[in-house]
Symmetry: D2
Subunit: 148 residues, 4 copies
């Protein structure tokens, strides 16, 4: 009761638990900049191995960053959720060395399905991609009793 | 004239040129299994660093594989094209060690914009994701004169 | 037991039940051309009131036709389902007098959510639009006991 | 020069020209509530003929309203544009008699392609659908010389 965490603390606990075993995000040197209920901010620098044949960041890595912010936002209420369907619009290219920031924000969350928007910006605060994701909760908590 | 390559040979030349400088695909150990006009097949094994906190392959890597097959299919006619907008539906999880195969196929290609479907299957030939991409040609050849 | 209908008969019964109260489809003079498990074919003629300022069929009517075929396909197993998320790519314009045909086909159907493709063709069998829809079952039959 | 209209006036002129021949919008009794550069607000009441078999507004009509707001926003700079690709997420049902309002807002507009978000709300200001559209300019003005 009294120790029921507030929404932001709960989101932080969920994020810590996910992050501990999230090799995909670690391997891309992502950083979780901020987390709150229904909201997450994640950043990543564009490395040389992320470049495609046009010396631009491969769309897959931009998607991965957006999808990651989406995952942390959608798992911020201690109810495990997976991505069901995502779309992304690529607006500007990204180049080596740029730090990209993905900001995910809930638009709608029902008992089972959620809709989230993610905006990806570059260092000049230009929007380089817009992502929209639909999530499904899988009826499972994220935190074990010991975490709370 | 007489030495104008047939569509499949042209697609192979474009793919070789792109592949040479495509660090993103190399770094993920992708393999281009087949290439033809408006069509490409790309494979990738799920590695441990691709796993998210649920020990499933991060959606970003599945997207990257699909997006890559899409890129090679859409660049198979010696007209450089970029991804404008993509959507993906995740149908089944993928686990470490599985080899995923993405098959991209043109649905529509006009002078400037194209629409392509990509199906991602696992080793049991189950469809684990469906991707649809819209491309834009940028008015530039892929092959330099020396390549032809 | 013995009188459990085969999948096509069940799909036909579901379609009849839905059709009876489906004013939207009637008001657009749609015709259900074929129905089977996970599959529906619906047609509609482009009328003058459907034209936009460019004398082309308004995309909303093309979407409505595709969405309708999707609805009948997704409701063909006596489990009521609603559209959660749809995307459409417009490839060619449609003009007054043309008869458009939408063919919906299941790609994936799990206990709750489904993924369907719909292709819209004109009288020359050219694909004018591609639609992809994700459905959610709402835990309710379509047929009442009296219908079976 | 001096009589070059300001952006809002230009948007209004474009809208008047489109509206005059836009039978689709008229036949659905849509109302253009507001128009500006890259922005349009359109409303529509849900009529009985718009209902599907579940007595909810057919998704096609909700899409049509959103798509219409999108069309007016994307054609607000005297450069004719068509819808290339749209997606819609249905969040809440709409019922007979409700007045729905679609607000379209530009996210990105380059020389040729644009990305727009449309939010559809009901009378209680609840968001019932989220639409995202990608447009292509077709290299043609909307206003004839006589209109300016």
């Amino acid at each position: 009761m009294t120790d029921r965490p507030d929404p932001k603390s709960l989101a932080e606990q969920c994020a810590r638990t996910m992050w501990a075993s999230d090799r995909a995000s670690h391997s891309l040197d992502m950083r979780l900049e901020d987390i709150d209920e229904g909201r997450a901010v994640m950043s990543m620098a564009v490395k040389d191995y992320m470049l495609n044949g046009y010396a631009m960041c491969h769309g897959g890595y931009i998607f991965a960053l957006a999808d990651d912010a989406f995952a942390y936002a959608t798992n911020s209420q201690d109810q495990a959720a997976v991505a069901a369907s995502c779309s992304i619009d690529f607006l500007l290219p990204a180049y080596e060395g740029e730090v990209l920031t993905a900001t995910a924000q809930v638009l709608h969350q029902s008992a089972r399905s959620g809709l989230y928007d993610v905006t990806v910006t570059n260092g000049k605060d230009e929007v380089i991609a817009r992502f929209r994701g639909r999530s499904s909760r899988i009826n499972q908590p994220i935190l074990s009793r010991g975490d709370e």
